[in-house]
C-alpha cells in the first residue's frame, strides 16, 4: 500500500516528527511504499541542517536524511511555510539574496500542490501534528 505522510510540527517541541519516523520505519518494514513525506506549518523546521542536538539525543534531521537515502524517500518541505520560517535551499538563497541556506540532504523544497498530489496518489494520508 502507498502511504503519504504529513508532518505539521517542528522537531523536539512536539512528538509529531518522532511519531512519524516510527510509523514510517514500521510501514517500510512491512513492505509498504511511502509515496511522499510532506512537511508543513512548523514541520518545515525538520529540514534544517543547522540543528546541533546534544550527543546523547536523537538527531531528527539526520535520521530523516538517512532514512530518505536508504529507502529513496521523497521529503518535501512546503515552500510557502519554509520561506516564512527561514528554511532555504541553495536556489532559494540566491533568489532571495540571502547569504546562507539550511536545507538538509535528502529534503527538497516545493509547493503545496505536492501535498494535494500526495492525497490523490497515496492510498492513505496520515497526518502527524500538534
Amino acid at each position: 500500500m502507498k502511504f503519504g505522510i504529513v508532518i505539521n510540527e517542528g522537531p523536539y517541541t512536539h512528538q509529531s516528527s518522532d511519531s512519524a519516523l516510527q510509523f514510517v520505519k514500521a510501514a517500510l518494514g512491512k513492505g509498504h511504499e511511502i509515496f511522499r513525506i510532506f512537511f508543513y506549518h512548523d514541520g518545515v523546521n525538520n529540514g534544517t541542517d543547522l540543528g546541533v542536538p546534544p550527543q546523547d539525543d536523537r538527531n531528527l534531521a539526520k535520521e530523516w536524511s538517512e532514512l530518505a537515502e536508504k529507502h529513496g524517500l521523497d521529503l518535501v518541505v512546503c515552500i510557502a511555510a519554509a520561506q516564512r520560517r527561514g528554511m532555504l535551499d541553495a536556489d532559494e538563497m540566491k533568489r532571495h539574496g540571502k547569504n546562507a541556506s539550511n536545507l538538509s540532504k535528502g529534503f527538497r523544497i516545493s509547493g503545496l500542490g505536492q501535498l494535494i498530489e500526495a492525497g490523490i496518489q497515496a492510498d492513505r494520508l496520515v497526518t502527524f501534528g500538534d
Partner: protein, 139 residues
C-alpha cells in the same frame, strides 16, 4: 479507490482552531486555494473553535497581523462551494449564522445565479459527511 490519473477523491479540510492565535487557519486556507486547481471534490468543515475563522467584522489593525478573513468570501470564485459549519459548535459558543460571513458562489450550470455555499449542519449530518471522505486534512 484506484489512484489512476483523473481520479477524483473527496477531500475534507477540517478546521478546528480560531484564527490569529496560531497560524493553522491561515495556512489551511493557503492549502485550500492551491487544492482548488486539482479538480478534486472539496469540502471545508468548521467545527469547535474553527467556527471563529468565519466571523464577519474581523479587524486585525490592533494586533499587527494581516486580516485574511476576506479570502473566505473569494472561495466561491475557486469553485469551492461546500462549506460546512457545525451547528452545535456555534451554539456552544453563543454564536449563530448571523455572526458569520455570508459565503456564496455563482453557479455556472444555472446561468451564474448566486447561491449560498455556507451550510450549518448538525452533528449527525457532519458525522456522516466526514465518514464518506477519502482524505481528511486537519488544521
Amino acid at each position: 479507490m484506484e489512484t489512476a490519473e483523473g481520479v477524483v477523491k473527496k477531500f475534507c479540510y477540517m478546521n478546528r482552531k480560531a484564527p490569529y492565535g496560531t497560524i493553522y487557519a491561515l495556512e489551511s486556507l493557503e492549502v485550500v486555494l492551491i487544492a482548488a486547481a486539482f479538480d478534486q471534490d472539496i469540502s471545508l468543515v468548521f467545527a469547535d473553535d474553527g467556527v471563529y475563522q468565519l466571523t464577519k467584522d474581523q479587524d486585525t489593525d490592533g494586533i499587527g497581523m494581516k486580516n485574511f478573513s476576506k479570502t473566505y468570501s473569494a472561495l466561491g470564485d475557486y469553485d469551492i462551494n461546500k462549506i460546512y459549519v457545525e451547528k452545535e459548535s456555534l451554539e456552544e459558543r453563543g454564536l449563530s449564522v448571523d455572526d458569520l460571513q455570508a459565503l456564496t458562489y455563482e453557479d455556472e450550470d444555472d446561468d451564474w445565479a448566486e447561491k449560498n455555499s455556507l451550510f450549518v449542519v448538525g452533528r449527525e449530518e457532519l458525522t456522516a459527511l466526514i465518514d464518506e471522505q477519502d482524505v481528511v486534512l486537519s488544521f
